[in-house]
């Protein structure tokens, strides 16, 4: 795989991820604005978020049950995962072209990311 191909692959990964996230969030936003669901949001005080919006499992469940906020949140989760997926794709690409130095470098970054997410820092 040439450098140019690596660039196109990573560029495509980022683009697809971003579009998927944006579409999901926009759909959720549309539901929210046009369904007239009563809500009492008050962003002046920090109230946190209900559980169905803070855990990945909860977000998936609420999104698939058609909850507008859940769908938006799912879009946000997809957005957050884009850089991580990008690192994973880069790792695969470097390994595929037998670039062991950068495969190792990328693997270290991915491992650090996983540690960071797992230890809940």
């Amino acid at each position: 795989m040439t450098d140019k191909r690596l660039e196109l692959l990573i560029g495509a990964t980022l683009r697809i991820g971003v579009i998927a996230a944006a579409v999901l969030a926009a759909v959720g936003g549309g539901f929210l604005l046009f369904s007239g669901v009563p809500s009492k949001p008050d962003f002046g005080r920090f109230l946190g978020e209900p559980a169905y919006l803070t855990t990945v499992a909860g977000i998936f469940r609420s999104a698939f049950s058609g909850n507008a906020r859940g769908i938006i949140q799912l879009g946000l989760v997809v957005l957050i995962s884009v850089p991580i997926v990008r690192v994973a794709v880069s790792l695969a690409a470097f390994a595929f072209r037998k670039d062991w130095l950068y495969s190792a470098v990328t693997a270290v970054v991915l491992a650090l990311l996983v540690v960071s997410l797992a230890t809940g820092r």
Binding site: I80, V82, V109
Partner: protein, 309 residues
């Protein structure tokens, strides 16, 4: 735009939902409707995405004040929004920059080791180190860099002789410019890594994207051409932000109503910005960058000195 629909509005001053009917002669209370709130945030976020994609920064510098000062949103929701803004700027702009050949992927990946490690360290150390002191130091660094940046108006880094380590790491590269493809060499990899780790630590400690230091390290220390520095910084900041995003999501800092317009606005802004950057003159970009980091530097110093961190 939504005509005479019933939009449930919410007030920042009371907790009761009001019916707000625009064109039907109903009384408009002292409240902002959901749609208007989102529109304001989206408009500001477009600016944030635009600026972020041109300078290699994350957009949080616009998003946080917009939300906290202009719209009275709690700082924690603003932090979640800033995170979303950084990831959106990063992914949105980098998608274009990588394809166009500006981003130096190898340098980005290599430096990410330092920056993500630093972020982890910074997060752990956050309990032990006073954030205000760090903020002041950070502010000073930015102000100094802004000063140096303004002095060097118009001059991009000249091509330097190849450095042994950088060459062995295959970091030297090329980028597209008006005059065709330009080659460049990279120097001072180890000091660059050091500053990256510091940038990561700051990010973990202060919770803000460290795009400014990334650009400064690549531009000043590693002698990389400016457009490569900012685009590679864009490429990197998303990863650093994503590392912390899971935690903020769990803590409830990420709100769908606040962050939806942030995400869409920033993405739109970065789309425009990435088109502009390819044609912009490096000198103009440097000046914009210097002005922005001067402002951020002053903000950091103010917050640090007044103990608001």
């Amino acid at each position: 735009m939504l005509g005479c629909r019933r939009i449930l509005s919410f007030s920042f001053y009371s907790h009761e939902p009001h019916a707000l009917c625009c064109a039907c002669g109903c009384e408009r209370r002292n409240a902002i409707s959901l749609a208007v709130f989102m529109a304001i945030v989206a408009a500001g976020s477009i600016g944030a995405g635009l600026l972020g994609s041109l300078t290699g920064l994350g957009g949080g510098i616009i998003v946080i004040p917009l939300l906290t000062l202009a719209l009275g949103v709690d700082i924690r929701y603003a932090i979640g929004a800033s995170l979303v803004s950084v990831i959106a700027t990063s992914s949105g702009a980098a998608a274009a920059y990588v394809r166009e050949g500006f981003v130096n992927i190898r340098i980005g990946m290599f430096l990410e080791v330092a920056t993500v490690s630093g972020a982890l360290l910074g997060a752990f150390a956050a309990a032990y180190i006073p954030a205000s002191a760090i903020a002041v130091v950070f502010g000073l660094v930015l102000l100094y860099s802004a000063y140096v940046g303004i002095r060097g108006y118009g001059a991009d880094n000249p091509v330097v002789a190849p450095d042994n380590l950088a060459t062995r790491l295959r970091m030297n590269g090329a980028y597209p410019s008006a005059g065709g493809v330009r080659l460049y060499n990279v120097r001072s990899v180890v000091p660059g890594m050091g500053l990256m780790a510091f940038a990561g630590i700051l990010s973990g400690l202060l919770g803000i994207g460290s795009g400014a230091l990334k650009v400064i390290a690549m531009d000043r220390i590693m002698k990389i051409p400016f457009k490569v520095s900012t685009t590679t910084s864009n490429f990197m900041i998303g990863v650093t932000a994503a590392a912390g995003a899971g935690v903020y999501l769990n803590r409830g800092y990420v709100d769908p109503v606040v962050d939806l317009p942030v995400m869409l606005g920033v993405l739109a802004g970065s789309l425009v910005g990435s088109r502009i950057l390819t044609k912009a003159r490096t000198g103009a970009l440097r000046v914009i960058f210097a002005i922005v980091i001067a402002l951020v530097g002053m903000e950091m110093m103010y917050k640090g000195l007044s103990g608001r961190f």
